[in-house]
Amino acid sequence: MPMQAHEIETLIKTAFPDAVVTIEDLRGDGDHYSCMVVTPAFAGKTRVQQHQMVYKALGGRMGGELHALALQTKAP
C-alpha cells in the first residue's frame, strides 16, 4: 500500500513542527519519493542520527510500505 506525499509530510511535521519539508514524487507512482527535511532539531547531530530521527517520525514505515524515500537532511 503506497503512501501519499502529504501523509509523509504530516508524520514528519508532527515530529518536527518547525521543519521545512520538501517532498517530490519521483516517478508519479506514489512509491518513489525524494524528501528534504530542514529543521533546527538536527543541529549538532550526525547525518546518521538525523536520518534515524526522520525514520522514527515515520513510525517504522520506512523499509516497509515506504520502500523508496531518498532522504536528505540538514539543520538550517
Partner: protein, 116 residues
C-alpha cells in the same frame, strides 16, 4: 530484540574487512538499485570492500536493521563503524566527505577514471 547469536554473527561480518557493505546481491551482481549505487561509488573510488548479501540470509537481513537501528539496505561499515545507507554515501561522495572519512580511517582510495 536482537539475539546475541545473531548479533555475534553480524559483528563477525563487520570485522571481516575494513570496508563492509551489507547489500542486496553481490558487488558483481547487485540486485537492487540502491545497493548498486553504493557499489558504484566504492568501485569508482577504487576501494577494496567485502559485500554481505542479505538476500542469502534472512537472519542477517533482519538482524542488521536492528543492529544499526537503520531500516534499509544497503548499509556501509568502515572499520566497524556504521557510516550510512545509500543517500548518505551518495551525499558524502558528492561533497568529498567520503574520501576524507576513508583517508582518516587509513583506507586506500584509488579513484578510477570515469567509464565512458
Amino acid at each position: 530484540m536482537l539475539e546475541d547469536r545473531i548479533k555475534e554473527r553480524i559483528g563477525h561480518n563487520i570485522a571481516s574487512d575494513d570496508v563492509v557493505l551489507f547489500m542486496k546481491g553481490t558487488p558483481v551482481f547487485p540486485q537492487c538499485g540502491f545497493s548498486a549505487a553504493v557499489v558504484g561509488v566504492l568501485s569508482h573510488l577504487g576501494i577494496k570492500f567485502s559485500g554481505v548479501n542479505v538476500l542469502d540470509d534472512d537472519e542477517i537481513r533482519e538482524g542488521i536493521k536492528a543492529y544499526s537501528d537503520w531500516p534499509t539496505i544497503p548499509q556501509l561499515y568502515v572499520k566497524g563503524e556504521f557510516i550510512g545507507g545509500c543517500d548518505i554515501i551518495r551525499e558524502m561522495y558528492e561533497t568529498g566527505e567520503l574520501m576524507e572519512m576513508l583517508n582518516t580511517h587509513g583506507i586506500d582510495v584509488n579513484p578510477q577514471p570515469m567509464q565512458a
